[in-house]
Symmetry: C2
Subunit: 242 residues, 2 copies
């Protein structure tokens, strides 16, 4: 008896034209798709593939039971999410047992801070599973700034805005090139760290990179206290350039 394959398909930064040829083919051919989203939203991953799906596709929306309502260091946060991932996994295993392939739509690259990893770690070894890498959101962001991110021997550090102000500042100060993800409500803290580390004047904020709403601004021009979830901060390296 054969089993269906679970494909973790990276969609890239947002522009469907930047999906890989393989991702494009898998999405257009999919009989079953699954994707994460916040309750009451269409979901960014689902939005990206709008207009590309088979008319008879079966959709499975995996709605986060919590996003920012409970702090991540609350033990209940992990419990609730673990239960959620278990129930998603169980549905995907069921599809696989029925010999149905399913394409899990992933924003960015599935193995780079992606939610799909929580399904992958539970499914690996139990069902056939394949991951299709993709262009990361940060590649989309630094391309939008129209400047290379790393030259020569430049060190690149990627930080989550959820880190402590101390950690952020220390690591920002020590790197050549910098990317900050997961900014959202951490915008003010991230800005204080950029200032303290001497990187503030060279930092760019890119929102919705490669999408039609894309904006690219110097961080010094930002007035908002909360950045959208799809915002990425970029500081370019200044390494060797013959």
């Amino acid at each position: 008896m054969s089993a269906g394959t679970v494909y973790g398909v990276g969609l890239g930064p947002g522009d469907p034209d930047l999906m890989s040829v393989r991702a494009d083919r898998l999405v257009r051919g999919a009989k079953n798709i699954a994707y994460f989203r916040k309750k009451g939203r269409m979901g960014q991953a689902r939005q990206i593939v709008e207009g590309m799906l088979r008319p008879d596709v079966k959709e499975f929306a995996m709605e986060y039971p919590v996003t920012t309502e409970i702090p991540v260091d609350d033990p209940r946060y992990n419990e609730i999410l673990a239960e959620f991932y278990e129930s998603c996994t169980s549905y995907l295993r069921q599809l696989s047992r029925l010999e149905d392939d399913v394409v899990v739509l992933c924003e960015g690259d599935p193995f780079f801070y992606g939610s799909f990893m929580h399904l992958y770690s539970r499914l690996k070894g139990k069902v056939p599973i394949e991951v299709v890498p993709a262009i990361t959101g940060m590649s989309g962001a630094w391309t939008a700034t129209e400047q290379p991110i790393t030259w020569g021997d430049d060190v690149l550090t990627v930080l989550a805005g959820t880190l402590s102000e101390y950690e952020l500042t220390k690591r920002m100060a020590e790197t050549d090139a910098l990317v900050v993800m997961k900014i959202g409500r951490n915008m003010e803290k991230v800005c204080r760290s950029l200032k303290a580390s001497g990187k503030y004047n060279d930092a760019w904020l890119v929102e919705y990179a490669t999408m039609h709403q894309q904006t690219v601004r110097k961080v010094t021009e930002i007035k908002e206290e909360i950045a959208p979830y799809f915002a990425i901060i970029v500081v370019h390296g200044q390494g060797r350039r013959p």
Copy 2:
């Protein structure tokens, strides 16, 4: 009078199926292509697009005058390379003046340690120029290890193997997730730093990620003193996972 556009097109890690839909379209439609290569070789970028090109395509191979013959800290290295980039640039400007578009084939993502940046910085503002981001070699490498690279708040540090042993060791010790590029002749030094930083037993060496020659091995199993240019070391983060 209109001018031709210079496209810096990222080809991704090597598998043509992982090129973006846009890159695929630009490569297949190109009347002019240009690419870097080592003298006497076909060149990795050119190899990736084999079988995809128009029969009447005009090819411009940009052959590095030096690669490892002169150390990078020798002042002649910069001089020779600067002259080389100037001459490539002048050819691309000429094409643009003739209203011809040209696709510059770039391995990986053009703005991430890519040679195209040296043309881009010379052409920007002078001719119409567009950059197409791509899947990085490191995304190809961590996907090949079948393990996510970053979870939760993991810090990712990307290092060039050309850094000093002291720098490598210090930065390896301080990070959660690690990628080392440009390994080649620096393999022994990189291994000493991995040992000194406590990351040696968890490090993977991926060669030719996503290509048919792909190999994935624990670094502890490596006997060779020189890794191929297309080798990437990966150490996975161990962050929060509900």
